[in-house]
Symmetry: C2
Subunit: 394 residues, 2 copies
């Protein structure tokens, strides 16, 4: 057995201008250096309650059930879908990018009857298209991505919740890539469950997934509750519908954990809760509108700057996410060489792409702590130098 235990953690100071994760706000890093509490200590449960109150503001909702899933953003997605989708239930999914595909991938694992509204990558669904699909398929659950970083496109959601209610569907939206950067209007949109992550516009590390759940969805989920036999209690009973096929992602038990019942489930990931709480505090101190405006300004500057470099920006201006911009790799350079030189010579990271866009576009983010004009300018200046150098061979 080797006694090689390597050196202290010591990452380079790199400007992360990809599609996430991005640099973490220093206040969030500091918050994570606080020590643990017992999971049912009154100070800990008070921090949990505060985190719920803070994320209600972040999600622009009055939903009582607003809390954290202990895992990355993808854990939030799976918790929502696993709890909403009964085996064999019909689900309608909008697919116009990699993360729309992920929703149907997860639904397939759950044994759902999957119907899709398939669009070319980077397109958005109109309200008419969504209504036609709801009318045709009569799904129990409707699911879509808000901002799909794979295409840098944001799906408009005004009116979508009301349509879903009209056709009897519970609605789910993944807002991982937009939460904290673009308005996520849970109540105004009327969406039943919205999930997010910290590592993009919230300016935190990956590893915690904020979630908000309407009373209507919570009622449905509680009807699937199944309490572990090792911790049965008189005040919490099992539901009447088919139980949720995951313990870790059983939102009914997790809601009981976050409620005054404090049903023992997992041990809350304390450092990540501290991080999530501080991300929200930083955001709310800045103010939601100021923060959205800052992201919009950074995104507009990035788009304009890329065009000023003679590059072609991917996608439609009307549906562009404000926090990540796709840009075509010029034909006369090697996209991966450019990314490599940006990282090695300037310590700036820009992103590659997936699926049909792999090798065709770069994705350049300006999210959270990095949604600042100076960082946009630095990135553009470095890109200009690297492109010139590659083209001139010096």
């Amino acid at each position: 057995m080797s006694d090689n235990f390597f050196g202290e953690i010591n990452p380079p100071q790199r400007l992360l201008m990809g599609p996430g994760p991005v640099n973490v706000h220093p206040r969030v890093l500091r918050a994570m250096s606080a020590d643990m509490l017992g999971q049912f200590d009154p100070e800990m449960t008070e921090y949990m309650n505060q985190t719920m109150a803070l994320y209600r503001q972040v999600f622009m909702t009055k939903n009582r059930w607003t809390f954290l899933i202990d895992g990355t953003a993808r854990a939030g997605i799976e918790a929502a879908l696993t709890s909403l989708i009964e085996p064999g239930a019909r689900v309608l999914i909008v697919r116009a990018g990699r993360f729309g595909m992920l929703l149907s991938e997860i639904a397939e694992r759950l044994g759902a009857d999957i119907r899709t509204l398939d669009l070319e990558w980077g397109q958005v669904a109109t309200l008419e298209q969504i209504e036609a699909a709801l009318a045709e398929h009569k799904p129990a659950v409707f699911a879509t991505i808000h901002g799909d970083t794979s295409t840098t496109t944001a799906q408009p959601l005004d009116g979508v919740g009301a349509l879903c209610h009209q056709y009897g569907a519970l609605s789910y939206v993944d807002a991982t890539a937009t939460l904290g950067g673009m308005p996520v209007k849970t109540d105004e949109w009327g969406i039943d469950i919205v999930t997010g992550g910290l590592q993009k516009c919230m300016g935190g590390p990956p590893g915690s997934a904020p979630i908000t759940i309407s009373d209507r969805a919570a009622e449905f989920i509680f009807s699937r509750r199944k309490v572990e036999s090792g911790i049965k209690r008189d005040d919490i009973s099992d539901g009447t519908r088919p139980f949720i096929r995951s313990n870790y992602f059983d939102l009914a038990m997790i809601m009981d954990y976050w409620s005054e019942k404090r049903l023992n489930h997992h041990t809350e990931a304390t450092s990540m809760l501290y991080a999530a709480r501080e991300c929200a505090r930083v955001m709310l101190e800045e103010g939601l509108q100021a923060r959205f405006a800052r992201h919009a300004a950074a995104g507009a500057a990035m788009t304009a700057g890329l065009r000023a470099l003679g590059l072609t920006v991917y996608g439609q201006d009307a549906y562009r996410m404000s926090n990540v911009t796709g840009v075509y790799v010029p034909q006369d350079v090697d996209g991966e060489r450019v990314r490599h030189r940006m990282r090695e010579e300037y310590q700036i990271e820009i992103g590659t792409a997936f699926g049909p866009l792999a090798g065709k576009i770069w994705r350049i983010g300006a999210m959270g702590y990095n949604a600042e004009l100076n960082k946009v300018r630095i990135t553009l200046a470095a890109l200009k130098e690297v492109l010139a150098s590659e083209r001139n061979g010096f």
Copy 2:
């Protein structure tokens, strides 16, 4: 909408002598304050590789597939069972406490054909009992807890892996509560999958679950692989067996993510990886044997000290976990009042209990950074004062 965003995180300085989480080693807290890297940056993938090498030593194994699950310890358990158990597969589970119950709970959610070796809480299964159950049930998967904190009891595992192989079962052990404190001899025991957590004897925060997987189990799991359609690649093919019913816990895709293939799956929880890496570094610098001896000394001192206070220690000395001690609440005091006073007057937390032991025993831990004689002495001295005060009414 309120603009109440609460104050800075500021937990009291509390000595956590319950069954976990416990106080985090200061080096681990500091490691978490390092900033992010892009998830496929060479420095990040190198940190991932180092983490794999470190946890091979922690798990006392040569298993290539040794890495982290992004969630709490329970996420590691569910990832293992979800990936091992096909719908309808027969599973044999040892149940002698709350966490044994949790294994069957998760298996039930997965649609397993569950057989159990049920023992009174706090008992351990003998090799003969295990062999008889394997011979009777011929399970595809055998699962047990190593140290069940609900009963403070450690299940002996010498020879168990070989028996499972002999009867054709893949074996799983949950070592959440013992990893880093008692020897977890993955290879010597011949166990196929072992999972752990950070928040007990590893001296870290909850939120990351180390896992190790034998080649034999990995081969089985890869036969259930299902790559997301949004990121299909020519060099990774789907398996031939029924796919895993979770995306987040699909160990085949997670192994591809941790391998040189770097298949995109979740975004690794970077701060928690920094924490897990530092927990292992602290452990390996101390040395495995020295660390186990430190935990054993602290546990022995706790047990002896509780007896010296005239209290009755729960369970059998021969099978006691070295890092958490159960002790009967004396008949003449109110157990919850004592815990409350310990916390309020001394800032020391001791644990309550679950199920048939609820209200009957306290659980007092000495784990990780807190497995120190001075902390054991402080806890005992405070408990002595509180008991005397409660009895004398002053």
